[in-house]
């Protein structure tokens, strides 16, 4: 079972690493690239804590093999802010207190950004169903929805 050399782009940076064939993208991000913002909540693609985008599409990185990242573009929570300047979504999550323990937060932010890139003016119902794959156990999602709607409005004005 030989190791695989993978060259890929993570948050705009070209990176390469060696991985096992059975290693997930999540494990490679966390253990090989030190990007621990993506979390393993369940490991079965049901909780969304490991959400990243792959060529702009939202996926659970725990259900993508690291080898599948070859030649692709990956975006994680660590790439959302521009340097120290937080993305408007991140600011709104802070402003609306839309987080508690914080483990689901990176995945929800990545998922939300993917939604707003596809649909800048979602209805509240669209947001609720889009985020159905991102579980949060601390909040009741209320402040999360408020933060997303507010951020979407601000991004449309920008």
């Amino acid at each position: 079972m030989s190791r695989i050399h993978v060259t890929t782009s993570v948050n705009g940076d070209e990176v390469d690493f060696l991985c096992e064939p059975d290693e997930t993208l999540l494990d490679a991000l966390r253990n090989r690239l030190g990007l621990t913002g993506s979390k393993e909540g369940c490991g079965t693609g049901d909780c969304g804590a490991c959400s990243v985008t792959l060529d702009g599409r939202l996926v659970c990185s725990c259900l993508v093999l690291a080898a599948e990242a070859e030649g692709r573009e990956i975006a994680t929570i660590e790439g959302m802010a521009e340097g120290e300047a937080l993305h408007p979504l991140q600011k709104k999550f802070i402003e609306h207190a839309a987080l508690q323990c914080g483990v689901c937060t990176p995945g929800i932010l990545v998922a939300t950004k993917a939604l707003l890139e596809k649909n800048p003016d979602p209805s509240e119902t669209e947001v609720r169903y889009w985020l159905a794959g991102n579980l949060c156990r601390c909040t009741g999602y209320d402040k999360i929805i408020r933060a997303v709607m507010d951020a979407a409005a601000e991004l449309r004005r920008a």
Partner: protein, 265 residues
């Protein structure tokens, strides 16, 4: 996961070659296979990643039918203008599989090859009487393709390449979701063609997706929800598990069938 080798063929021909290893397993979207591997319920020696094969991807119109490549992801089917226009029920079904993360990875071919008894796509394929094309050059009618829970007509190493969906006069899919997994606890696809109605039920039976002849007969005579009054599925052979009893699933099939007919208009 048990250890395996990883292969990424660039063409169907290469994939067919790689699949000749009897312990090889094809990786499509991975939304079922990777959890299965993690639970050590499968131990392939080689994983053949089909995601690099352009020729099994995409949606086109062919002989009045909608042809969808096996490697096409659920989100692409949901977003396809052609599918939305010609078979809106199919676009709707694809748009409601799992969650966005699943729809961005999962593929039509992967779903059909796995044939989970609670998956949505088998209901559309059987309900629309679609044709499954394979790497062995076979064209398998939906009625022959599904052979029971997780069982299909595919041979060893045989891959699905595309599926041709006939365009119905009207159709609709209604499912009652198992709320944790969002698979169908029971889902019913109803399609009306000139002179015939097909009704396919997923999620309910221990034999996987199946056609419901009594409902088809009643609806062929009169395509209305009321036509199903007095038509009921028995609980025999229905799945009974932690998510619902056989009786509950049989009951839901009746409710979902009526609602699908109403939704089809």
């Amino acid at each position: 996961m048990y250890a395996f080798d990883y292969a990424r063929p660039a063409s169907l021909a290469e994939a067919i070659e790689a699949m000749k290893d009897e312990d090889a397993k094809a990786l499509a979207g991975g939304q079922t296979l990777i959890p299965t591997l993690k639970q050590r319920l499968a131990s392939p020696t080689t994983l053949v990643d089909l995601n690099g094969i352009a020729e099994i991807k995409g949606i086109c119109l062919k002989d009045g039918m909608v042809a969808i490549g096996a490697g096409t992801r659920h989100a692409e089917v949901a977003d396809s203008a052609d599918v939305q226009r010609l078979i809106p029920a199919l676009a709707h079904l694809a748009a409601h599989i799992g969650d966005p993360q699943v729809r961005n990875r999962g593929t039509l071919g992967g779903s059909l090859a796995n044939n989970d008894p609670s998956a949505c796509y088998p209901a559309a394929v059987l309900g629309l009487g679609a044709t499954v094309h394979t790497s062995a050059g076979r064209a398998i009618a939906a009625d022959d393709y599904f052979q029971g829970m997780f069982e299909t007509a595919l041979g060893e190493g045989e891959l699905i390449t595309s599926v041709d969906f006939p365009v119905p006069e009207k159709a609709a899919y209604m499912k009652f979701v198992q709320p944790a997994s969002r698979f169908a606890l029971t889902g019913v696809f109803v399609a009306k063609f000139l002179g015939a109605v097909r009704v396919a039920v997923t999620g309910a039976s221990e034999s996987g997706v199946f056609r419901w002849p009594e409902a088809e007969k009643a609806l062929s005579a009169n395509f209305s929800a009321g036509a199903l009054d007095g038509v009921a599925l028995g609980a025999d052979g229905m799945i009974g598990d932690l998510h619902g009893t056989p009786e509950y699933r049989a009951h839901l099939a009746g409710v979902m069938a009526r609602r699908a007919v109403t939704a089809a208009g």
